[in-house]
Amino acid sequence: MMEFFNAVKSTPFMQYALIAGLLASVSCGVVGTYVVTKKISLVSGGIAHTILGGVGLVCFLNKVYGMNIPPMYGALVVALLAAIVIGLVKIYGEHDADTVIAALWSVGMATGVIFIALTPGYNNDLMSYLFGNILMVTKHDLYLLVILDTFVIIVGVALYHKLCAICFDEDFAKVKGMNVTFYYLLLLCLTAITIVTLIQVVGLILVIALLTIPAAIAKQYSNSMWKMMIWAVILGVFFTFSGLAISYGPDLPSGAVIIIIASLSFAISTAYKKMF
């Protein structure tokens, strides 16, 4: 553990990692609260996994055509596109929506896999997108994270009452004249952006766990949405920081350690709630 604290003091990449973890936890706490209460984890999973297609395409363009697009841009564009498409399927797809979302989820990943195959050489970017590599976050990534974070938090907080209303009772919100479709799609877009920031930390395979677990634990102890958000942020910071600290010494994958800690905490908290 001492190694970790020494590394934080002396190496910039460790500091970047902590800042990235902090930024991701904040958007994750705010948006995760909406995702968990609106019960759109599956939809969010669909959005997350289609991102592989975007990252694959960017890696392919960069290597084969010598372009220099940061993969996060590809991830962002594809995530937003997936949010809109999946959102529309969910709204208008009636009974088949779940199946279509599962199919889109796989199509995104399949596209990614094909681009990986077409891209020559070992693909480092892609691996860090799949499993996350918070220690490889660059200064440029951090700037983008700050922008995305600020956007998500401003929108998520400014529209607090409207988003809470659709999470609680969509029909009532509609009777009160709210454009429920618009706010639903907006919520999915916020989710998409948050997923892109979280992917830096844990990778897209594990992202849904980090998006939902802090909020799910917070929900067990909250009687209002804003309290749930604050607790989810605190828990998110705790999970990422402790995951980083524990994984650093034995050189374990930090993303996986973060998720194990979060899941264990969730299990303990749920058991505690059931017993008392």
Binding site: T33, T37, K39, V157, A158, Y160, H161, K162, C164, A165, C167, F168, D169, D171, F172, A173, K174, V175, K176, G177, M178, K219, Q220, S222, N223, S224, M225, K227, M228
Partner: protein
């Protein structure tokens, strides 16, 4: 003045007509009871009036602000929302103040909660409440915005007799100020207070209350109705 007017409303799910050629007009301060068998289209009719469903045919005219109390909120017990938050959601379209509710909003919520006897539980989580308490919270949410028309879908289902009486008295009182339209299974409840009953079973039949005020009103005789 007609506050709700439906003209030749028809609605189908897939290929089944749930409602066929419904004409209905509701006047200001009416207290209209809607009865009918399960699957007869009562809830569908309410959703059409509320604008949640679009009819396949026909015209809906509403002259006033609507609010409603849902039949059964498909509700997560652990949803993080307290009673006062739910009541304040009734002001969604009239919220004064920006990020947080203004003092007036809170005062309004407090006075509505006092009227309904739920002020003491204002900080409790909504999911923890009993059926009767929950129903009163949903009524508070519906009336905090002073609507012209209040629509209720089975407001006394799943609550005990004492709570039913409270709700019933409250509705009679609310009727002094607003038009009520209520779906109910409980005929004794409907017959004593409403001033008109319609029976929905794909089509609509109207009865003035005294026709169904007898003991055996669960069987409504349609034989005297004009064919629709």
């Amino acid at each position: 003045m007609e506050i709700i007017k439906l003209e030749k409303i028809s609605f189908k799910y897939d290929n089944d007509w749930v409602l066929k050629d419904i004409d209905l007009s509701v006047k200001e301060k009416d207290f209209l009871g809607v009865v009918g068998p399960n699957g007869g289209g009562k809830t569908t009719l309410l959703k059409i009036i509320l604008g949640l469903l679009k009819p396949n045919k026909g015209k809906v005219t509403i002259n006033g602000g609507l609010s409603y109390v849902p039949q059964y909120l498909n509700f997560d017990k652990y949803h993080p929302v307290c009673v006062e938050d739910v009541v304040l959601m009734g002001l969604l379209d009239k919220m004064s103040g920006g990020l947080v509710h203004s003092k007036e909003d809170h005062q309004k919520a407090h006075s509505v909660m006092e009227t309904l006897g739920i002020f003491g539980i204002k900080d409790q989580r909504f999911g923890k409440l009993s059926g009767g308490q929950r129903q009163r919270v949903l009524i508070a949410r519906a009336i905090i915005s002073d609507p012209d028309i209040l629509i209720l879908d089975e407001p006394t289902a799943n609550i005990d007799k004492a709570a039913q009486d409270t709700v019933q008295k409250l509705l009679v009182k609310l009727n002094e100020k607003m038009t009520l339209l209520m779906v109910s299974h409980q005929f004794d409840f409907i017959s004593s207070d409403v001033n008109r009953v319609v029976c929905i079973d794909r089509t609509l039949h109207t009865h003035s209350t005294y026709h169904i005020a007898g003991k055996n009103i669960s069987i409504v005789d349609h034989s005297g109705d004009a064919p629709k």
